[in-house]
Amino acid sequence: MPEGRSPILELQGITKSFGGVEALRGVDFALLPGEIHGLVGENGAGKSTLMKIIAGVHTDFSGRFLVNGQETRFRSARDAHAAGIAMVHQELSVAPDLTVAENVFLGNQPTNRLGIVQWRRMAREAGEQLARFGIDVDPMSRLGDLPIGLQQLIEIARVLFSGARIVILDEPTSALSPPEVERLFTTLRRLRNEGTGIVFISHFIEDILRVSDTVTVFRNGRKVAETASSATTKGALIEAMIGRGGEALEHSYTDDLSLPKPSDGPVVLKVDQLSLARSLRDISFEARAGEVLGVYGFMGCGQQELSRILFGKLKPDGGTLIVDGAPKTFASTAAARRAGVALVPESRRAMLFHQEPVYKNVSISILDRISALLLKPAREREIAQRQVEQLQIRPPVVGLDLGMLSGGNQQKVALARWLTYPPKLLVLCEPTRGMDVGAKNDVINIVRDLRAKGLAIIVLSTEPETVLSLADRILVLKRGTLVREFKNEPVSKDRLLEAA
């Protein structure tokens, strides 16, 4: 294997902090030419931060950075690009309204001496490149008309064939079907054999083990292990990722936790054979009153789509929703709200009005109940004040513009809105993401209170801890299908990761 070759990329003692929080602490990392280097770690372990440093996105860090043995400092992503480093980011970044060929050549279309784009040459070369990748598609078709997985493949193809000698792939397989993943791996191996250095980040540990030569494990901003892929197992990697022992401050959920006996409350929501294009297939489950149902899965597994369907924001292609015994097809979010469904999306920004005071943010969904025609601001403030006190929102001033509150308090305002409603079914996406320990515990307590009041609650998260800390029953969603249900049995982070 890669013994004896000198690294094309070497980082020594990299430390990077965001506003006082250390995301990386003294990390060493080396990439050899002709190597596929897998990177694993939980969300927030520092993988993406390190890759963004390599790709010139983060330029403010300490430590040594060497490309081909030369100490270098990139000032921008453009510098990194010039040095032959290319990255496929987690989020799709394509231009859907341009043609496939234009996307493949984005930023360096072939031109003649007059600077005029040579369309025919561009189409031909794009077609050839994609064919090498096993993609058979008309280079002149509009990219946005293709399925998401194909778009992702084309974006990857663009980066792989850009001539870069160092390629970083951050979660490239989340939207791909198994044969597409296979094709990607074949291409990666070929590029490796041609001498390209590849960094491959994924939550799918089987994928990492299959394609990479070396695996590095991150935990809490540190590199905790580096080993040859052939010398390790999925179990060992998961263990290294989540860490045994008392290192973590929070409850680490590494030990078995026993889920309670399922609630025998009435069924509030029944989902049957729900599907949505490439995102969800044949999803069926029930949610009962007085129970918190967790839905766990990796980024892009279809959670987001599922939550949007439940709240009437997306329309499913097939399947039925039954709320309180009545089949529903929600024409709008207003219809979902009236049926007693509430959603807190993963991004607080998406549901809050930052330029409006706290009380208006709280009362917006119950206005039709407290006022027929004329507003009753005094009553709105009173209701909001009660919630602010109950949830200990700081500062406790209902007239303050929401934008002045901290993130954790904004999340509480989002919950407060639906607490005043209150819905029959509450859908929470990533309810504790980005919160400090105290705020997390507050949210957990609020959710437990609501469960005690007899609400059916669905918690969707890509963080195992979130699901484990809240849920009474857990469904595992993998690439758009439900693959496992945990109920009335022991569960732990290992078991969840194993199932996903």
Binding site: T333, A334, H354, Q355, I364, S365, M404, L405
Partner: protein
């Protein structure tokens, strides 16, 4: 958590007069413009600052004011309505079309009792507004394009109704409201004042008004709050069309005739009044109060330029420059506010 988060929140609380003024810039700037223009014309011309002339200004801005009420709702929702002048025109023509004309008017019209004529005209503008609403919400055509099409459609209906002729008679109620006066105050000014007041009350004190601001402020959040965003957007398009229709009927009575292209200048004037007044083109900020200030800025400007003996062609250029300045302030104020809020 409490201590660190509280401290953070306290730090972010912008207090003091500077940030306050910055966040209020969209309200202050138009008002200062109005005071400046008024003072300027008062010194430049002895005939400007008279009670008579104030009456003139009020009458001159009335039709624009009535149309601008509905447009304020639309712009607060971060949409636009370019069909207001055309709908005003077709409604004015329709009400005349359904009224018995003098024998020398060569229009194949359909005389009806006055009340029916008025009702039919209102129905017509509401219907056209509904078409705008459906195009915007059900089909998903951007309001800019949808109402551009409606501008042509309404103009087309106007053309078919009058066929290049001019009608003069309108129902007596309309002619009183449009050209009569009571106790020296023109009815049209009173109607404009009542409609502006009603618009203000709806926006400030009703649930619907709150929804309009919320949808305009953050449409995605409104949807995630379970509001029926499409219904609200549809409603403002209909409100806009009906206000335009009322403005059109009274305008026809005020001018004394109903004919093609009579209201063309009102499109720009109404949009200018709303935007110059400081209502945000990005939605969610502003209101009827702003529109009233905007109306006066335009009214004083138009009227004052007549008083100071200025090249009438230059007048058009000056109006354009003032509008540009207002747009700059509008966009700038939005940015300042976002900085203060985040």
């Amino acid at each position: 958590m409490a201590s660190s988060e509280t401290a953070l929140a306290a730090d972010r609380k912008p207090r003091g007069i500077g940030p306050f003024l910055r966040s209020q810039m969209r309200n202050i700037a138009p008002f200062l413009t109005l005071i400046f223009l008024s003072l300027f014309f008062a010194f430049a011309s002895p005939s400007f600052a008279t009670l008579d002339n104030l009456g003139n200004i009020l009458t001159q801005v009335s039709v624009t004011g009535i149309i601008a009420v509905g447009l304020t709702f639309v712009i607060l929702c971060a949409e636009i309505d370019l069909s207001i002048a055309s709908i005003a025109n077709v409604t004015g023509i329709a009400v005349a079309y359904f009224t018995l004309q003098e024998s020398y008017v060569n229009i194949a019209n359909v005389p009806m009792p006055g009340a029916v004529a008025i009702l039919l005209a209102i129905l017509l503008c509401a219907l056209l507004g509904l078409v705008n609403a459906l195009g915007l919400t059900v089909i998903g055509i951007p309001s800019f394009i949808m109402t551009l099409a409606m501008m042509q459609i309404a103009a087309g209906i106007s053309a078919l109704l009058v066929r290049g002729q001019i009608a003069y008679k309108v129902p007596s109620l309309i002619s009183t409201l449009g050209s009569g006066s009571i106790g020296g105050i023109p009815w049209i000014v009173i109607v404009a004042a009542i409609m502006l007041l009603a618009g203000h009350l709806v926006l400030t004190y009703t649930r619907f008004g709150r929804y309009v601001y919320m949808v305009g402020g953050n449409r995605e959040a409104a949807e995630y709050s379970g509001l029926n965003v499409k219904l609200i957007l549809g409603a403002v398009m209909v409100i806009s069309a009906v206000c335009s229709g009322i403005g059109g009927m009274l305008g026809v009575a005020h001018f004394g005739s109903a004919q093609q292209n009579e209201f063309d200048t009102y499109l720009l004037d109404s949009i200018a009044a709303v935007v110059v007044g400081g209502t945000s083109l990005f939605g969610g900020r502003g209101g009827i109060g702003n529109t009233i200030v905007g109306l006066f800025v335009l009214g004083v400007l138009n009227n004052g330029l007549d008083h100071v003996n200025i090249d009438s062609f230059l007048k058009i250029l000056i109006r354009g420059l003032i509008l540009l300045a207002a747009l700059v302030i509008n966009v700038y104020a939005q940015r300042l506010r976002e900085q203060t809020a985040d």
